[in-house]
């Protein structure tokens, strides 16, 4: 998948605004918080019955047949806040239920519409290609955890068996971070929406078959792990 880093020019650069606190206190939200990019074809009637971060409405900045989803936000450089990051994920989950979306990570804030229009214009082809690749697909996460005391024989063999069964039902899979010795497997799977039930059944079967392991199955998510597009302002 194509990697793209669309950066605005230095003219658009802005560091932490010393007046940020004043902006927050006065209730002004002058910056634009980005959730993701969506196709606009057949989305004319797309309306969101939910609000964005800081209870601001979500709107679309269009370019040709794609658009970027934004809401007003008081800070240019948001501090990573667990609660707000969860809210961001929840909003994107709701968006993904309505349309295909290239999800953005928490904390992408821009100065104004012009920058975003420029990014859409410059990145149009890559964005269109990515939207096509993730159309009608969801991301599902699977973690398989070993019991603390168990010594597992044929660990690699079992891992391959579980992975193969799930890979057969997915378009693509990628390994996640191996952050614990307890993890036998930590993978994300890109799955066709109409294969979601089959995939869930395969997880249930694996849980029954490999009772020595614990399974954590999450999703459906917007395909965060399968889009390699980052839009960001220069720091």
């Amino acid at each position: 998948m194509e990697t793209l880093k669309a950066q605005e020019s230095e003219n658009f650069q802005e560091q932490n605004n010393p007046d940020d606190t004043k902006i927050e206190n006065s209730g002004r939200c002058q910056y634009l918080y980005v959730y993701g990019i969506i196709p606009l074809k057949n989305s004319k009637d797309l309306k969101f019955n939910f609000i964005g971060l800081r209870e601001k409405p979500i709107t679309i900045i269009p370019y040709e047949d794609i658009g970027v989803l934004i809401s007003k936000y008081p800070f240019l450089n948001p501090i990573l806040d667990e609660k707000e990051a969860m809210e961001h994920a929840d909003i994107l989950k709701k968006i993904a239920k309505k349309t295909t979306v290239i999800p953005m990570a928490f904390g992408n804030v821009f100065n104004d519409e012009k920058i975003l229009e420029l990014i859409l214009k410059k990145s149009y082809n890559a964005l269109k290609e990515t939207l096509e690749q993730i159309k009608n697909k969801v991301e599902l996460g699977v973690k398989v955890i070993k019991n603390n005391e168990d010594v597992i024989m044929d660990e690699d063999k079992l891992k391959t068996e579980i992975l193969n069964a799930l890979n057969n039902l997915s378009v693509k899979s990628i390994p996640g971070e191996n952050f614990s010795e307890r993890l036998l497997l930590n993978h994300s799977f890109l799955v066709e929406k109409n294969n979601f039930s089959k995939f869930s059944d395969a997880i249930a079967k694996s849980e029954k078959k490999y009772k020595q392991f614990k399974f954590i199955y999450t999703g459906p998510w917007p395909p965060y792990s399968f889009v390699n597009i980052h839009i960001r302002g220069q720091k």
Binding site: F179, S180, R182, I216
Partner: protein, 93 residues
């Protein structure tokens, strides 16, 4: 003036017990610091703590206690790393 230190003696294949002890203590201290201020490792421990809570291997109380401890350690490690030279940071990582 020639300073006789453990490294110099070691270069000549000599070893003095008190110097060796100091050398081992320095090594242990370096190792402990690297372990303590390794951001990647602390982040992994934070994730592992969540995982263990999710599979109900630890209680909410244990989870919160460890989470706070690790968050504090992460902040401290970040502050310490900010004050280190680039070479020292590379060594820790």
């Amino acid at each position: 003036m020639i300073l006789i230190d453990d490294l110099m003696l070691r270069a000549f294949g000599l070893s003095l017990k008190p110097f060796d002890l100091i050398w081992y203590m320095e090594l242990m201290n370096d190792y402990a610091l690297k372990e303590k201020y390794n951001l990647k490792k602390i982040n992994a421990q934070i994730k592992e703590n969540s995982l263990l809570f999710e599979i109900e291997e630890i209680s909410e109380e244990e989870y919160n206690e460890k989470k706070e401890l690790l968050k504090e350690r992460l902040e401290k490690a970040k502050q310490i790393i900010e004050n280190l030279s680039e070479a020292q940071i590379r060594e820790i990582r």
